[in-house]
Symmetry: C2
Subunit: 339 residues, 2 copies
C-alpha cells in the first residue's frame, strides 16, 4: 500500500474555475454570486483518469490524500462570505472525486479563511467536511493575506478554535499557503517554501504542543528549508532554551517528501526520523516537467525513495504506516475496505 499524502485537484473541470472567476467578478461589482454550474460525473472522471489516476498507476501508488488546488484557495480575494462559498464548492468537488474513485482518493478540505476575521467559519467547514463528507484532514493557510503575512503566528490563540476542532475530530492539518499577491514571492518557488520554514520556526519559538499534545501538523515540501538547516534549528532551539526538537516539535510535526531531486531526499532521510516522513509528490502540481538529468518527472518522488535502499519496515512507514497514524480517519476508511 502506497499513500501519497499530498495531491491537489489541479485539473478540475473548467466550469469550476470559470465559476470562481465569475464569483470574484460579482463580488467586485457588488452583485450576487452566480449559481454554481453543472459538472457531470463523466467530466470529473475524465479530469482525474487522464491525469492524477493515470500517473498514480504509472508510478505505482495506491491512494492519494486529495485536496482542492492550493494556489487557487486565494483566501486574500473577496471576503469571508466569498471564501466560504469557494471553500464549499471546492470541497464538494473533492467529495465527488472521492465518491467516484473510493479506492484511490480520500478528501482533505480547504478552509474558508479570510484575512482579519476569526476562524469560526473554518471550524464549521472542517466539521462539515469530516463528518458529512468523510474527509480525513484539512489544509490550513498560515497566511490568508497571500504573501503579506498579516495573520498572527500559528502559535497564537487566534488559531486555537481550529486546533481544538482538529483534536476533537482527530484530524491533522497540512500547513499550506496559497497564491501570493506579493510580487516578491513566486508562489511555488518562494511563498510555499518560506511558509514551511516559517511555520516550523514558529513551532520552535512557541509552546503550541504543550497546549495541544495530540495536534498533528504536516509541513509540506519536505519541511521547506528546515532539513537543510537542521543544525541551525537545533542550535536555535537550544539558544531559545527549548527542549530538543525531537521532544519540542517532532512529536507533532511531519514532513512530506515533495523534494524534487535525489540529494534533497537523501538529506531529508539523513536528518529527520523516518517516523516523521510521509510519502508525497504534490502531483500534478508545482513542477510538472521531466528532469533532463534523470529522464524522469521531477515530482516522481517515489523513485528517489526507492533509491534510498531503506529497510522494508521503514519504507512501509513512509509509504503508508505514518500516513495511517497521522490521518487515523484514513486508516479507519481503509480498514473498512479491508485494506
Amino acid at each position: 500500500m502506497i499513500i501519497d499524502c499530498h495531491g491537489h485537484y489541479t485539473t478540475a473541470p473548467s466550469q469550476h474555475t470559470d465559476w470562481r472567476k465569475s464569483q470574484l467578478d460579482a463580488f467586485l461589482a457588488g452583485a450576487p454570486t452566480p449559481p454554481y454550474p453543472a459538472i457531470s460525473d463523466d467530466e470529473i472522471r475524465e479530469s482525474i483518469e487522464q491525469h492524477q489516476l493515470r500517473l498514480l498507476r504509472e508510478r505505482g501508488a495506491d491512494v492519494t490524500i486529495f485536496s482542492p488546488r492550493a494556489s487557487a484557495m486565494a483566501h486574500h480575494e473577496g471576503d469571508e462570505r466569498v471564501s466560504g462559498e469557494w471553500a464549499r464548492a471546492c470541497n464538494d468537488l473533492i467529495a465527488r472525486v472521492a465518491r467516484l474513485f473510493p479506492d484511490s482518493f480520500v478528501g482533505v478540505c480547504q478552509l474558508p479563511q479570510s484575512p482579519g476575521v476569526p476562524v469560526k467559519s473554518s471550524v464549521a467547514e472542517l466539521e462539515r467536511c469530516v463528518l458529512d463528507l468523510g474527509f480525513v484532514g484539512c489544509n490550513l493557510n498560515p497566511d490568508p493575506s497571500g504573501g503579506n503575512w498579516t495573520a498572527p503566528p500559528l502559535t497564537d490563540q487566534y488559531w486555537y478554535p481550529v486546533f481544538e476542532k482538529m483534536v476533537e475530530l482527530d484530524v491533522p492539518a497540512m500547513v499550506h499557503v496559497s497564491a501570493s499577491c506579493n510580487p516578491n514571492f513566486h508562489a511555488t518557488g518562494a511563498h510555499y517554501i518560506n511558509a514551511d520554514t516559517t511555520a516550523f520556526m514558529q513551532f520552535i519559538q512557541g509552546d503550541l504542543f504543550a497546549d495541544f499534545p495530540d495536534l498533528r501538523l504536516v509541513i509540506p515540501h519536505g519541511g521547506g528549508a528546515v532539513p537543510y538547516h537542521w543544525g541551525r534549528y537545533r542550535g536555535l532551539a537550544d539558544m531559545l532554551k527549548k527542549p530538543p526538537l525531537t521532544e519540542h516539535v517532532m512529536r507533532n510535526v511531519f514532513f512530506d517528501t515533495c523534494v524534487y531531486h535525489q540529494p534533497g531526499i537523501d538529506l531529508l532521510f539523513e536528518v529527520v526520523d523516518v517516523d516523521n516522513i510521509l510519502f508525497g509528490s504534490e502531483m500534478v502540481g508545482a513542477v510538472r516537467g521531466i528532469d533532463p538529468q534523470t529522464g524522469h518527472y521531477f515530482d516522481d518522488t517515489k523513485r528517489y525513495i526507492e533509491a534510498l535502499g531503506l529497510p522494508e519496515a521503514d519504507k512501509e512507514k513512509v509509504y503508508a504506516g505514518n500516513a495511517r497514524r497521522v490521518y487515523p480517519r484514513l486508516d479507519s476508511a481503509l480498514r473498512l475496505r479491508g485494506r
Copy 2:
C-alpha cells in the same frame, strides 16, 4: 589562506548600540540626534580580540569580510535620515576595525536603505565606503520594511542605481535582510532563510543578469532553501522557459557555507558547483552554541568543509580563490600586502 566571507560586528562596544537606541528615541521625540559617543581603539581591539579574532585563530582562518551587525541594520526603523546616520556610524566603526586589524578584517558596508525611498543615498554611501574607507562590498537588504516585504523584487528597476554603482566599482553585494518586525518571522530562523530563498527565485523569474552581466551577488546561509530544493528550482526555471540555472543565475550568484551541520554542507557541495561556493561562518552570529552531537560549535563550518575530503584545488577555491574572484578589491588589497 582562508577567507571567511560572512562576519558581522555583533560584539561592537555598548556605546555604539546605546547611541543607536538614543538616536531612535530622539527620532520618535522629534529631537535632534545626540552626538556619536567616543569609543577608544582599545575598546574596539578588546571587542574583536576576545571574540571574532580569537575564534578566527582557534578555527584556523585568516581574513574575515566584515560588516555591521545585520540584525541591527533595521532599515524599517526611523527614516532615510536616521538610516543614513546609522549606516555611516556602523561603517565608520567597521573601517576602524579594518584599520586596527588590517591582516584579519576587510570591510563591507551597510547601506542607508529606508522603506519606500529611492536608493540614491545607498549609492552615495556605497561609493564613500569603497573609495574612502577601502571596503570591498556591501550588504543589500531586499526587504527594508523588516518582514513586511513592501519593496519591489530585486529584479525591479528600483534597485538598478545600486547595481550600476556596484558594477562601476567592481564590488559584489551580499543579499542580507535585517531584523523582522513581523511576528510571523523569527529573524535568524525564518526571515533570513526566507529572504535567501526569495531572492534566488526572483533571479530565476527575472532577467537581471542580462542587464548586468558583471553583477555579483552572494546569497548567504548556504542559499536559504535553494540547494535542498535544487530539483524544484531547476524544474521551475524550465517551466518558466528560462535557460538552465547554470547559465541563467549561477554565473552571477554565489552561496556561502553558513549551514550548521554536516549533511547540509554535504548537500550544498553535491548540487552546487564548487566555483559558486564561498567559505563563510557568520561568526559570531545567529547560532552560538555547541552542537551536543559533535561537541563543536554549530557555526564552526570549516570542520564540515574539511570533512568533505575535497581535492586541494577545490578547497582552495572555496577557502580563498572564489572570494578573491567575487571581491576583486579584496584580492587587490591582499596582493598589496604580498598575500
